[in-house]
């Protein structure tokens, strides 16, 4: 009923405990009010029913829970996990491994397995592997974690989080809500978009973010690479093998490794525009060109290209928690050396956090730390 404080308390209690319920709104004289009276014999809301069996009012509900009457009923309480891990990259998988080995009831929810490492062809700096393809390393991670029977929801996007109570609630894009005593956020980063007209519409139709994957599809074509750091330089070198002409467009002077920069500058196919901004990507059904503007003179020119490779860095996938958790100016979740976020029971790890040096081995180590910290937290709550 509107304006009923114990109705609000009862709902909060049920949500806090992860107990499924449906709400029937009543007001005096309504059909629902008559039904409430008929089923419970009581005239004051809230009245809580388990199926057709009346439990009573708010304090009866709390008593029923305390005496175990509610939890004995199968199906009434949704599965309550010890830890839910969001993200399936190196940080999330490592967290999952450590959680599974601590025999925590664990659920991993992720849009994919691998995260941004699968935008890389191979790695040469993961301890124990002098050279390994990213897909192979991730397959090994996955196989290792699955050895412990990890429960996972892959291909699902988390759409909302409720971290207000002791029980954390995670809702995915298929409308399902999962309940957990603790949460580990390992959502990583994604390629930063340019946010110019034409970009979004032409993704996959000439606009690309993975030169390792898509450079070979631009054989003989004129292309542009946007960005001035190492990733952009590597993209230019990927394209140098196949493309006809490569325009490199950067807001600043080039900032990558001198050796890579030297290789790029030596290529006869490459024309470099520094101090230039991209104003739009042109094309109807596929990319036909890119419009750039000089920061010094304001002059605008069009480059006729079939492909635009955007390599201007990464953005943390922290949108879900940006208003809930503390973040730095880059949007990275601020954590302490125990991966704590500031909300009890909520941990974060890997590239989505302010942990310096975004490397696979660092993310994996960080995931392990988050899981052990979550384990300590769960022990402290017993």
């Amino acid at each position: 009923m509107e304006g009923c404080p114990f109705c609000i308390k009862a709902k909060s209690f049920l949500m806090e405990k992860g107990i499924r319920f449906s709400e029937i709104k009543v007001h005096p004289g309504s059909k629902e009010w008559a039904q409430m009276q008929q089923k419970t014999g009581m005239r004051i809301p809230p009245q809580i029913l388990d199926g057709d069996e009346p439990i009573g009012n708010y304090s009866d509900l709390v008593n029923a829970y305390a005496t175990g009457k509610l939890t004995e009923k199968p199906g009434l309480i949704s599965t309550l996990y010890d830890v839910i891990i969001i993200g399936g990259g190196p940080a999330g998988l490592s967290a999952a491994l450590y959680a599974a080995r601590k025999i925590l009831k664990t659920l991993l929810i992720s849009q994919d397995i691998g995260g941004q490492v699968i935008y890389t062809y191979d790695l040469n700096n993961y301890l124990g592997f002098s050279q390994i393809e990213a897909a192979d390393l991730i397959a090994k991670f996955k196989e290792h974690v699955e050895k412990y029977g990890l429960e996972k929801q892959v291909g699902k996007k988390v759409t909302s989080l409720d971290l207000t109570g002791k029980i954390k609630k995670v809702t995915s894009d298929d409308g399902k809500t999962y309940f957990s005593k603790s949460l580990i956020i390992a959502t990583g980063k994604r390629p930063r978009p340019l946010n110019v007209p034409g970009e979004r519409e032409l993704i996959g139709k000439g606009v690309a973010y993975c030169s390792t994957c898509d450079a070979p599809l631009f054989g003989g074509a004129d292309v542009a690479v946007i960005g001035g750091g190492n990733s952009a330089l590597e993209a230019v070198l990927d394209l140098d093998k196949v493309a006809n002409k490569i325009y490199m467009v950067s807001l600043t002077e080039l900032t990558g490794d001198p050796i890579t920069m030297d290789k790029v500058k030596k290529s006869s196919k490459v024309k470099i525009y520094t101090q230039y901004d991209v104003t739009r990507i042109i094309g109807s059904s596929s990319v036909e060109g890119v419009e750039i503007k000089s920061l010094n003179t304001g002059e605008i020119q069009k480059l006729d290209v079939e492909g635009v490779f955007i390599e201007i860095g990464l953005l943390p996938n922290s949108d879900l928690v940006i208003d809930i958790l503390s973040t730095n100016k880059f949007g990275e979740i601020l954590i302490d050396n125990m991966c704590k976020t500031g909300i009890a029971g909520v941990f974060a790890c890997g590239d989505v956090t302010n942990v310096p040096f975004k490397q696979v081995i660092i993310a994996a180590g960080d995931g392990a730390k988050a899981s052990l910290a979550a384990y300590n937290y769960l022990i402290s709550q017993r």
């Binding site: 897909a135 192979d136 994957c213 596929s286």
Partner: protein
């Protein structure tokens, strides 16, 4: 005859993961390397309404761009029947 065609490039990790995913499920597929097979590249661009990004998956009457395990599983079930 495999019902599934996949268009890939040699160094694309998503393509490799896609192949491993299909092999693990024992699903037959034909893979084209669009980095070298220009006819396959043309076909891929044609069936996908201009897509120039890999992997592209053609199954039954559907074309999927990219590898997303969740949505691919759903499409496989629709295309090949339950248990895919």
């Amino acid at each position: 005859m495999a019902k599934i065609k996949i268009y890939t490039s040699p160094k694309c990790p998503h393509c490799k993961m896609l192949k491993e995913f299909l092999s693990k499920k024992k699903i037959d597929y034909i893979a084209y390397d669009v980095a070298t097979d220009k006819e396959a590249l043309k076909e891929m661009i044609n069936i996908s309404d201009g897509v120039r990004s890999v992997p592209v998956i053609s199954l039954c009457d559907k074309v999927i761009v990219g590898f997303n395990q969740g949505s691919l599983e759903e499409e496989l079930t629709k295309c090949l029947g339950t248990g895919a």
